[in-house]
């Protein structure tokens, strides 16, 4: 065994090594298209932006729009809701993040309405919905409470509701995505 390893590599060793290596690369190259074919396809990726008109949303009202087949909550927050969100200190938060970092303009909150626990749609968009203990949203699946900034305050969800990339086209229109 030790004698053999001290022998200079032969032509056969070289062929075996390179052959094995190329087989591995070839197998990978053949399998990858099969795996990647399951990833989101081009036509799915193409539906990437959506424009929202804010003119008809009164303070205290919310709108749900669909972006990339996910619901996006657009909330016209009241003074009280903005204050509530601003008052929360780092101690109160599970996933600390300032309200100012989550809203481009404080009266408008735009968040992806998907619970960061296991993907249910939290309640709180309709009047009469259970909004949880912090006046924002409440996920009925496993009991996550979100505040008026969409931040997780209580329950199993690990993260705040995601703020999607968006910008104001003018005072009454935003572009999400």
């Amino acid at each position: 065994m030790s004698d053999a390893s001290q022998d200079p590599p032969t032509r056969r060793d070289f062929l075996l090594l390179t052959g094995t290596a190329m087989t591995a690369v070839g197998t990978g190259a053949a399998v990858w298209p099969l795996i990647d074919s399951l990833s989101p396809s081009a036509e799915v990726l193409a539906l990437a932006t959506v424009e929202v008109n804010l003119a008809n949303i009164e303070a205290g009202q919310s709108l749900t729009v669909v972006w990339r087949s996910k619901p996006v909550f657009v909330r016209h927050r009241t003074e009280q809701e903005i204050n509530q969100a601003a008052q929360a200190t780092e101690r109160d938060l599970i996933d600390p993040e300032a309200d100012s970092a989550r809203a481009v303009r404080p009266e408008w909150l735009v968040i992806v309405g998907i619970c960061t626990h296991l993907g249910c749609i939290p309640l709180g968009q309709k009047t009469g919905d259970n909004r949880g203990e912090f006046g924002g949203w409440f996920c009925p699946c496993h009991g996550s409470h979100y505040d008026t900034s969409g931040r997780i305050r209580k329950g199993p969800a690990p993260k705040n509701l995601t703020v999607p990339e968006y910008r104001f086209l003018d005072d009454t229109r935003i572009l999400i995505g």
Partner: protein
């Protein structure tokens, strides 16, 4: 094992067989394989009715595949048409309602049968040497069944289908770093949608045949090591055993007829009892039902998933090792993972729980614990019991579930339990038992005997 075996099948081996049988045997010995597995296979003579459930599970698997293939010829795996195509099966297709109800209730009964099969194995130590691999193959079958049942439940594309799929696929988002990517890959999009439904249909059709493959290995392993029995002692001699046919074929047929009676009761008289009304509402990606629950057979696992609502880390610091979400996922998968190493966790030399006085109460508490976790899983997340959050009791249940496998079986029970005197021979124990029965019968009816004389 092989010595008593040969006596039953010896007649086939002595001289080369003639006719069609001989012609086949010389080319493909499939018929003798069937003979060996389903006719001559020697089984312990003392098997109780709890040993019916293995072959029963096999029969239910066949029922599921046959009804499933017929349903697939009528079903459309597209988000716009799936729900309607299922309703068409229910209303317009000849006997469509019957075939679908057989398939839907069949899934529940499949799990019921397999759960009994598993709890039987747990009680009689059927996982212990030399049946470790047999047990592990069984756990693999169980995992495949869970995946198949989950994907099948998505296909009708009702509200529970959609949100069940969303919640379960989101489990993978708990994996650090790559979780989000994996979930989008599973979905084929940014949410559960048409690509998801399509691939679930393809896999739901494929997996049962993978299960058949593993079942073949399961039965193969069984035929190498032989069946365990209620005494848990090894087969020693020929008179411990009887051939599978006609003794157990007919016992299994009798068990099957009892099973079919209860199965038919559900299929014909309570076909939706085990289902959820919400799944007769078409899937709506923008509205989550108020109370998502999985099918009953997933409830204990669902309770585990939900029970971890706190991060696991160093107390009073911000250091977190395991986020709550990942914690729930780990606990749930751990509950099944622990079954894989069970053969090496239980260190008692005694197989059958019948001879283990301390094991018995621990086992039955474990059984109650599993049922209770099912109850916890069925209730809303914020339910209470005796004024306390139900989830606290759920946590207790989880602690006992794992303590049973990781503390009681390996460390506590082997230390406290004395090794009892086990019966030496199955045949002797069996004839003692049956002669005891005869004696008791005689004592009960002494007058009858007197009259006869």
């Amino acid at each position: 094992m092989s010595a008593p075996h040969s006596s039953h099948s010896g007649s086939h081996n002595a001289t080369p067989a003639k006719g069609f049988y001989g012609w086949m045997e010389a080319r493909l010995p499939a018929l003798s394989l069937f003979n060996k597995t389903l006719r001559d296979f020697p089984e312990p003579k003392n098997l109780s009715y709890l040993w019916n459930f293995g072959s029963l599970a096999g029969i239910v698997l066949v029922i599921m595949i046959l009804s499933g293939i017929v349903l697939a010829t009528q079903y459309t795996p597209h988000v716009d048409m799936a729900f309607d195509s299922v309703e068409r099966i229910m209303r317009d297709v000849n006997y469509g309602w019957l075939i679908r109800y057989i398939h839907a209730n069949g899934a529940s009964f499949f799990f019921l049968v397999v759960f009994i099969h598993m709890f039987r194995g747990l009680y009689y130590g059927s996982y212990k040497k030399p049946r470790e691999l047999l047990w592990i193959l069984g756990v693999i079958i169980f995992l495949l069944m869970m995946a198949t049942a989950f994907m099948g439940y998505v296909l009708p594309w009702g509200q529970m289908s959609f949100w069940g799929a969303t919640v379960i696929t989101n489990l993978f988002s708990a994996i650090p770093l790559v979780g989000e990517g994996i979930v989008q890959w599973l979905w084929g999009g940014f949410a559960v949608g048409n690509p998801t439904l399509n691939r679930f249909f393809a896999l739901h059709y494929l997996f049962p045949f993978v299960i058949v493959g593993v079942v073949i290995f399961h039965i193969w392993a069984l035929h190498v090591v032989g069946s365990n029995n209620p005494l848990g002692i090894d087969v020693r001699e020929e008179r411990d055993q009887i051939p599978f046919h006609p003794y157990y074929t007919f016992k299994d047929l009798f068990g099957l007829s009892v099973f079919l009676f209860f199965f038919a009761l559900f299929v014909f008289y309570a076909p939706n009892y085990l289902g959820h009304p919400d799944n007769y509402i078409p899937a709506d990606p923008l509205v989550t039902p108020a109370h998502i629950v999985p099918e009953w057979y997933f409830l204990p696992f669902y309770a585990m998933l939900r029970a971890i609502t706190f991060d696991i880390g160093i107390p009073f610091t911000d250091i977190v090792f395991v986020e709550a979400k990942l914690g729930g996922v780990l606990v749930m998968f751990g509950a099944i993972g622990v079954l894989f190493i069970l053969p090496w966790l239980d260190r008692s030399p005694v197989r059958s729980g019948r001879f283990r006085p301390l094991f018995k109460p621990c086992y039955w508490l474990f059984f109650v614990c599993c049922v209770f976790l099912g109850y916890v899983g069925a209730k809303p997340a914020d339910a209470t019991l005796l004024g306390l959050p139900l989830q606290w009791f759920g946590l207790l249940g989880i602690v006992y579930y794992f303590a049973y496998f990781l503390v009681l079986l390996p460390f506590v029970l082997p230390k406290l339990e004395k090794v009892p005197e086990l019966p030496v021979s199955i045949a002797d124990a069996y004839s003692e038992k049956s002669s005891g029965k005869q004696k008791a019968a005689k004592e009960q009816n002494p007058t009858e005997e007197g009259q006869a004389e």
